[in-house]
């Protein structure tokens, strides 16, 4: 079931500002989604789409405070405040899916004029300038893993003239770093609560952390199932679950969705069904193109290479301690494997290669992402030493203007041949 096609068809093809900004549109879409439930092979995907529509509707409705978050900011705090988190980078991916990215990218380039930066940010900035997005009441952003996000948020805060709260997350620093980050989180939570007039009780925070822990448990179970012989989920769909990681950690719905995802996979595994014919098992690094493209389809269905694992879906953090909320959220942020010296990421990837019995690793090399792409060379070398073929696939997740599918497919074909020849 193609969610984006449903949106475009039902909204009449003209995805103008007024249509996308109207909460009514989301009510209609939700009703249509209910009817199409049976068309979804994975009910969890259906539930996630419904949740995303509801969150978007709430964001435009503005009954609850809308808080924009950068994708690595711990959203548990926002859900404890019963706010509506909105990640502009996710908005950029959706815009690409709806075919709106080119318009927004063009607008942003008139404003800050350079294509040398990440298109998630350029597209998000363009959609802000075009006033497509739900206006924030406040913004929270963190420094880790992305240099562009803090700057984007400063632009957006200036545009909407809204308060902005910054979380500085170092890449190293041991216990001192935990104290430093925990202190900031506590301060941000207190100031947000005060600013929005929303009490942040210990109970609410504890509940959000428990939700986060439960979702984590299901993620672990899902990953365990995916490590088994059968790969039951197309990687493209599995990659869409980053929506929950980027905006919905701490929400009760996230637990329900992951629980359903686990049940879906259990059901498929029980019947011995394979959603993807599996001849080679790939580990996918970074994200994927969000505009219309046939990359994953081709890889999985034509080349018989299943995405057995995505680094984005790796559970790298320990369970949170609701008794020590800020400290454990700080530990979670600091434990990201891509933070700090590259050895952490390499170690994690080698571990994933072993656990998921990976035949080859593909890095989608999104133009403009310094943090991910900077590690390519050492990652490639470490994988080569471990005898694992590696492919860096150059492209762009949001900006489809220079997308050359033929070339990418040819490179993928060559890569699969290389794996087979091993």
């Amino acid at each position: 079931m193609d969610f984006y096609r449903l949106v475009k068809e039902k909204m009449g093809g003209d995805l103008g500002r007024h249509v996308l900004r109207s909460p009514l549109s989301y009510n209609i879409l939700k009703a249509l989604l209910v009817k199409s439930r049976h068309q979804y092979s994975l009910q969890a995907v259906w539930m996630m789409n419904r949740y995303a529509l509801e969150q978007t509707r709430r964001a435009y409705l503005r009954r609850d405070p809308v808080i924009w978050n950068s994708v690595f900011f711990p959203t548990e705090i926002l859900h404890a405040l019963k706010a509506v988190p909105f990640a502009p980078e996710v908005g950029a991916a959706v815009a690409a899916g709806l075919g709106l990215a080119t318009k927004f990218l063009g607008r942003a380039e008139q404003y800050w004029s350079t294509r040398d930066t990440c298109s998630f940010h350029r597209c998000a900035m363009g959609s802000v300038l075009e006033e497509y997005l739900p206006a924030p009441d406040a913004l929270v952003y963190s420094s880790h893993l992305c240099d562009g996000a803090p700057k984007l948020f400063e632009h957006v805060a200036a545009f909407y003239k809204k308060p902005v709260f910054f979380l500085d997350v170092p890449g190293t620093g041991g216990d001192a770093a935990v104290d430093y980050v925990a202190g900031q989180l506590e301060e941000i939570a207190g100031r947000l609560s005060h600013r929005l007039g929303r009490p942040l009780t210990r109970d609410n925070l504890a509940r959000a952390l428990e939700n986060s822990n439960q979702a984590r448990e299901y993620m672990l179970k899902i990953n365990e199932l995916r490590r088994a012989t059968f790969v039951n989920v197309p990687g493209s769909q599995a990659l869409n679950f980053v929506y929950l990681l980027f905006t919905a950690q701490g929400a009760p719905e996230t637990v329900q969705i992951y629980r359903q995802f686990y049940r879906d996979l259990e059901g498929l595994a029980g019947r011995g069904d394979r959603a993807v014919p599996e001849r080679r098992r790939l580990l996918w690094l970074h994200l994927k193109p969000y505009y219309r493209n046939g990359l994953m389809e081709y890889l999985e269905n034509r080349l018989g290479a299943a995405l057995a694992c995505e680094e984005m879906n790796h559970v790298y953090w320990e369970p949170l301690d609701p008794e020590r909320p800020y400290e454990s959220l700080a530990r979670k942020a600091l434990s990201h494997f891509a933070l700090g010296p590259v050895e952490r990421r390499i170690e994690t990837l080698l571990q994933l290669v072993r656990l998921y019995r990976i035949d080859g690793v593909v890095h989608f090399t999104h133009w403009g992402c310094r943090q991910s792409n900077g590690g390519l060379r050492p990652i490639k070398e470490a994988l080569r030493s471990a005898g694992v073929p590696f492919l860096s696939l150059d492209g762009d997740c949001v900006d489809g203007r220079n997308y050359g599918e033929g070339q990418l497919l040819a490179r993928l074909e060559g890569f699969i041949e290389m794996i087979d020849a091993k």
Binding site: W112, P150, K151, H155, N373, G375, R377
Partner: protein, 340 residues
Amino acid sequence: MVEAQETNAKEGYFASDNFTVGWTCSYIPEEIIAAAGLKPYRLVADGTKVTRADACLPGNFCAQVTGCLDAGLAGRYPYLSGVVIGFSCNAAVHLYNAWRRCITHGFVYGLELPRRDTPEARKFFSKNLGHLLLALEQHYGRRVSQEDLWRAIAETAETRRLLRHLYHLRREARPLVSGSEAMALVRMAATIPKNELNPDLVRIIDNLTAKKETAGGSRPRILVTGGILPPALVELIEECGGLVVCEDACNGLRYFTGMENTGDTWESGDPLLKLATAYLGKPPCPRMSRAAETRSAELIKLAREYRADGVVYYSLKFCDVNLYEFPLLKKTWVKPVSRF
């Protein structure tokens, strides 16, 4: 004189020993390296065509990172016995990764640099500085006393005081020093041990004031701002008939400005905390959180103080923090100072 010293630095002024330690970012307190009896040497990409670094890092990384790595790979830093690489941004973290893997100089240290200035950030930073000091002591077999730290702090403060004095001379209607000369002097200050440099700096400034030869009084006065500046840009502006009166860059004004008040209270308390406070509190580089808010006001002030006729914003290609900052700054300074 400026040229002679610069040439000395380039041609192996430090080659006679192995105690020179490179550092990469203006948020790295070089005082700590000096306190350990070592010679801090700022690494700035020299504009040479990058031929080797592309094999280690993607092509779309900034020229400061690829340039320094390339120079290291090509053996253009024969005098370095180690480097301290500040985690200024993600590209710099990858410079640290690449340096350790591709270049075999002994001491390689990655220093965490907070992106905000708060009491907690200063405390965290001072702890990191303690770790750096310990690592230097262990690697070079030194024992650094509090006196060593205070001495290095005092010598560096004196260099900064002299540079501030020099830059003040550039505010005059007929500046005594050109942009190219000023950049060369800042470069010297960041590469030559302060105890050797300070007497020379005093002499240079005395000579300039005595001679009263103007660097070009009636040329359009230009303020250059942005990230790390290539001297070639300043030279180009001056060759085209302009006169650069101030370089608001981490290898210009931001190398030494903003730390003056802390100088008075150096001799008491925890020297590392004092350093952390001074460095995080200096006029921010674009890498710092919400730098643009401070920087736009600061730029207007600088433009007035230095009587600038125009501003040139310079960003290295692929430097996210600079590229994203530009529209924010432009918006604020276009209005209040209408002739820009």
